[in-house]
């Protein structure tokens, strides 16, 4: 319990120091609870998510470096591996392939990579997965782009 707190604190300091290291990720810790984090990530370019900014919510368990953090999208996203309603993410490194050497920052990076490379064979969003699996790349991209515009981009007047 103490170890997770210490580790999170070090990560927090690291995030403060390396704010400019990765301009696509901004990690913010809850002021009152170091086990709750928020992140803003930019949609990777040349994907339907380009131009969008997505908010993630981290919930870190007490056994943290040994147990993975729970992450979900707060911004709606049309992606085969993200539950459309709850924002739950299906990503191996957040489940059985977690390694304690990963950090919250690297999890963000992995999620950006997942956005660019969806895995339609283990879908949480069946509609999205089916579009990709049936080879309708264009359909998937236009749906994903539409939801990016709707949910992750500024409203146009």
């Amino acid at each position: 319990m103490q170890a997770s707190r210490a580790r999170l604190f070090k990560e927090y300091k690291e995030v403060q120091r390396e704010k400019s290291a990765d301009p696509d990720i901004q990690l913010v810790c809850d002021d009152s609870n170091i086990f709750k984090w928020n992140a803003l990530i930019k949609g990777p370019s040349e994907t339907p998510f380009e131009g969008g900014v997505f908010q993630l919510a981290f919930s870190v368990p007490e056994q943290y470096p040994l147990q993975p953090p729970q992450v979900r999208f707060l911004t709606k996203i049309f992606h085969p591996n993200v539950h459309f309603k709850t924002g739950e993410i299906c990503l191996d490194i957040l489940k059985n392939a977690w390694s304690p050497a990963w950090t919250l920052q690297s999890v963000c990076r992995a999620i950006i990579a997942l956005m660019a490379h969806p895995e339609p064979d283990s879908p949480l969003n069946c509609d999205s997965g089916n579009l990709l699996r049936s080879g309708d790349i264009r359909g998937y991209q236009s749906m994903a782009r539409m939801y990016t515009r709707l949910a992750a981009m500024p409203k146009k007047g």
């Binding site: 170890a3 580790r7 400019s20 290291a21 131009g51 040994l66 390694s99 304690p100 690297s106």
Partner: protein
């Protein structure tokens, strides 16, 4: 009757006030949460507007190929600049992050596409570290490998056998490291005629090598920085680690340079003591402190570096491992420890 009601009122008042207090408290919590969300939203808006500007700019620029390269170069330059400037900035405002904040704005403004910037960032990271080790390390690596060759003079044949067993790329690297400094050495000896060539002992070589280097300090991320040097500050150990994690593409943890014994445990970020840093629990070379190792064994027992199960008897320094590269690396790292 009257007084009764007053009493009742009086007793009601504290309750009411406490209720009001609670209410205020709740409201405050709500407000801080709202404020936080506002901040996040504002930040998001800012990014979004940047993205909008950026896309506009990119369209107007058309397909100039040289531009991203140039910016990447700039980024690299900036990264190096930052490396050099950083210590001062760090000292100036250790606690407050105000300056950092404004600092962080500028790179995100750089007109590059997203993956471009990500890649550029990574590239510049590795580039800067490699360039630092090659530029400042010209002499440094010279002294290091010289020392090694001198120290392990007896088992030079073994060394070459192991090097033969390495993959072709590794071999190239080793040869590069091995041969270039030697040339430099000769040049030095030629120029400094007062040095007796017969006295080519490692210590002598080192001192000759170090003398001209004195004007330049070791970079904290320098691969050849001797372990015996004290930490400049603890802060350095961290970015160094992170550079290593992401700079190497995350393929191998203990990769390439033999001097890469992390200063702090990558799991708990506590400093590694002598026992920890001579402890090698897994053949992949991933190091961690004994404490974290024990905790991992109690849970799922997989190495954080390669995710393979730990075998319960930890690998000793001389154990035969798969591939000659590992034993070679072990040998080197061990010699590092004994020297320091």
């Amino acid at each position: 009757m009257h007084s009764d009601s007053i009493a009742a009122n009086a007793s009601n008042i504290p309750a009411a006030s406490s209720n009001a207090k609670d209410f205020v408290k709740k409201k405050r919590v709500n407000r801080s949460a709202k404020l936080k969300q506002c901040k996040l939203d504002a930040r998001r808006e800012q990014w979004l507007s940047q993205v909008k500007n950026k896309s506009g700019k990119e369209e107007s620029n058309g397909g100039t190929i040289g531009q991203p390269m140039a910016t990447a170069g700039n980024r690299m330059g900036r990264a190096i600049e930052k490396l050099e400037i950083r210590p001062r900035v760090e000292e100036e405002n250790d606690g407050g992050s105000v300056h950092h904040y404004s600092d962080s704005e500028s790179p995100s403004n750089s007109p590059m596409s997203h993956t471009g910037s990500v890649l550029g960032g990574n590239d510049s990271g590795t580039n800067s570290s490699s360039s630092s080790s090659s530029s400042s390390g010209g002499c440094c690596s010279g002294s290091m490998s010289e020392e090694d060759e001198g120290g392990e003079g007896g088992c030079l044949d073994d060394w070459e056998a192991v090097a033969d067993a390495l993959a072709a790329t590794d071999e190239k690297q080793q040869l590069h490291i091995g041969s270039a400094p030697v040339d430099k050495n000769i040049a030095h000896f030629d120029s400094q005629s007062d040095v007796d060539i017969l006295k080519e002992k490692p210590e002598n070589g080192v001192s000759v090598q170090r003398a001209p280097v004195n004007c330049r300090a070791w970079r904290p991320d320098d691969a050849f920085r001797p372990q015996s040097l004290p930490n400049l500050s603890k802060q350095y150990s961290f970015p160094m680690n992170s550079d290593r994690h992401y700079g190497c593409g995350g393929s191998v943890w203990g990769c390439k340079n033999a001097a890469s014994i992390p200063k702090s445990c990558p799991i708990c970020y506590e400093d590694l003591d002598f026992t920890d840093s001579s402890f090698l629990p897994c053949s992949c070379g991933f190091r961690l402190c004994l404490f974290c190792h024990k905790r991992i064994l109690e849970e799922d027992g997989r190495c954080p570096g390669c995710r393979k199960q730990y075998n319960y008897d930890p690998v000793e320094g001389e154990a035969t491992l798969d591939g000659g590269s590992l034993t070679y690396r072990l040998g080197r790292s061990c010699s590092m420890i004994t020297r320091s």
